[in-house]
Amino acid sequence: MTEQVIQLEKVNKWYDDFHVLKDIDLSVDKGQKIVICGPSGSGKSTMIRCINRLEAHQEGKIVVHGTELTNDLKNIDLIRKNVGMVFQQFNLFPHLSVLDNISLAPIWVKKMPKKEAEEIAMSYLEKVKIPEQAEKFPGQLSGGQQQRVAIARSLAMNPDIMLFDEPTSALDPEMIKEVLDVMIQLAEEGMTMLVVTHEMGFAKTVADQMIFMDEGRIVEQASPDEFFNNPKSDRTKLFLSQILNH
């Protein structure tokens, strides 16, 4: 019996007249790894940003850990504490040291004593293999190191679910691997993950489910095996042929 941690039912969202999400249905089980791909503007980022309410949906229902996302700020805070997010542009806090970046949320959101929070921060820095950078500022690190700090920052809140919004798209090719390695390790430890990415190698290694989105709809949802070897829709075939054979 698997436990459902995220449910989206008939979710619709508009930016003014532009219909970004159309009748999205999705359910995610605990420990599942879902990779979402699709052309730009297809609504993949918007969809995962709705799950921690960085964007509000207008119709339908989003339930995370049994809590429905509404305008109720208490529910939003509750969900954000348990859902970590990693961004394309890292979004580290440039005025804080690496250690302060990671320990900030445990101190202020979880009201943890500073010493304990810094110990936790160090343990996550070791997990992403850059403990020696703790005293530096984000601007002094490479892109790959910054993204690993961003992952450590999210993990320090001990979330059950991690959302990744194109985590390697802003990185130089030689830095992509170091970030993906951390994500693979995280997947092996059983974290529930939703990953928007075009790294198909990563998808094949890690994903339980592949989702292909286009024009605001989920066009195809299948196991990686099915998805890569026997895609159903023509749109998926076209997309795959373009990104796999360049």
Binding site: L54, R80, V83, Q89, N91, H95, W108, Q140
Partner: protein, 368 residues
């Protein structure tokens, strides 16, 4: 032989050669410029120092009014007559504050650095206690300056000179700072009522000259208040100055807020930080850092603008200077007075400008 080689390779020589005498035209311009600088500075130094009178004139007599100034005795003498400043020094610094009570003002001046140092330098040992003192200082300062509870009361109508300038400048800037942060955040708020109030306030204050605000505060304010309530003149000016400064500073800070990428707030929110936590810990520290140059710019502007209060009858540094020039005993010594006042203003404004550079350098966290 070896000496001539080392001479041509001397780095000062090559610097001069490259920067000052790289061509005939540049050489001529350099020589003319040096001559010009020499003429101007020698004239200025002679006037201010070498040929100037301080306490005594060239005959060794103590100067007690303008007729004793060297330049008024001997046509060949041109130096400044600083005696006007020295004789009236008390007025320039304290206004009409009683001489025997001036120690109170000096004590406030002496304590002021201790009150500011905690705000200005965050790596100070025992900073916490300095900050406590900063919050206590306005009360201590007011008690010392105004009096009461054992000290003789010195009404603000007797305050003047640098005391008024510093009181309005420093207090105005310090009070305006928190107000301006609230206004800047309010102007970007999603709540329409708060946003509208902040926009109207900022645009109204910015759209009106400071002189008008001072007049309004001075003349109109009592009309709106109940009969018998007549707020102090200096206090009215302080209100006007604070509101004026807060509107300008709010716009400087808003510029900084707009420069922060949206991702910063999103990252803070995704970690579960509330709006106020994100604002205080993530957004404001970065926005204020970016806003340092324009904030200091408005502070310098305000510090100089405090001299406008002389039109509502307050004697700030400039007001005292004008009174000195108007005194028949000392008439026609405009240059001395205005040069002195300029120097005092310059010291404070230059200090603010240097501090802002120090702060920018210290807050830099990247390699660029």
């Amino acid at each position: 032989m070896s000496s001539s080689i080392s001479f041509t390779h001397n780095k000062y020589y090559s610097w001069c050669r490259n920067n000052l005498f790289s061509s005939w035209i540049n050489g001529i311009i350099t020589i003319l410029s040096i001559y010009f600088i020499y003429e101007v500075s020698s004239f200025f130094l002679n006037w201010t120092i070498f040929e100037a009178d301080f306490v005594n004139n060239f005959r060794g007599e103590k100067i007690t009014d303008r007729t004793f100034c060297s330049k008024n005795i001997e046509p060949g003498q041109h130096g400044a007559c600083w005696a006007i400043i020295i004789v009236r020094f008390h007025q320039f610094i304290y206004g009409f504050y009683p001489v025997e009570e001036a120690w109170r003002v000096n004590l406030v001046y002496g304590l002021l650095p201790f009150a500011l140092v905690g705000i200005f330098f965050d790596n100070l040992p025992f900073r916490k206690y300095f900050i406590y003192f900063t919050f206590l200082f306005p009360f201590i300062g007011y008690f010392l300056l105004y009096g009461g509870a054992g000290l003789d009361v010195v009404g603000t109508s007797k305050w003047g000179g640098l005391l008024v300038t510093l009181f309005l400048g420093v207090t105005g800037i310090l009070l305006a700072f928190p107000l301006s942060i609230i206004l800047a955040l309010g102007r970007r708020s999603k709540m329409p009522v708060i946003k509208t109030i902040c926009i109207i306030f900022i645009e109204f204050i910015r759209g009106v000259p400071l002189i008008t605000l001072l007049f309004t505060a001075n003349v109109m304010l009592p009309l709106f208040l109940p009969e018998g309530v007549r707020p102090d003149n200096l206090l009215r000016a302080l209100v006007a100055v604070t509101l004026f400064q807060s509107a300008y500073m709010a716009e400087a800070i808003r510029g900084g807020l707009q420069a922060i990428p949206k991702g910063q707030l999103e990252a803070a929110q995704s970690l579960g930080l509330t709006y106020w936590q994100s604002t205080r810990k993530i957004i404001l520290p970065q926005a204020l850092k970016i806003s340092i140059p324009p904030i200091v710019n408005t502070c310098i502007g305000l510090f100089k603008d405090t001299s406008l209060v002389l039109i509502i009858g307050l004697f700030d540094l400039l007001g005292v200077g004008r009174a000195a020039v108007a005194d028949i005993d000392w008439a026609k010594l405009h240059y001395e007075v205005y040069v002195f006042i300029s120097l005092v203003f310059f010291i404070f404004c230059f200090g603010m400008s240097r501090y802002s550079l120090y702060l920018e350098k210290k807050l830099k966290t990247d390699n660029s």
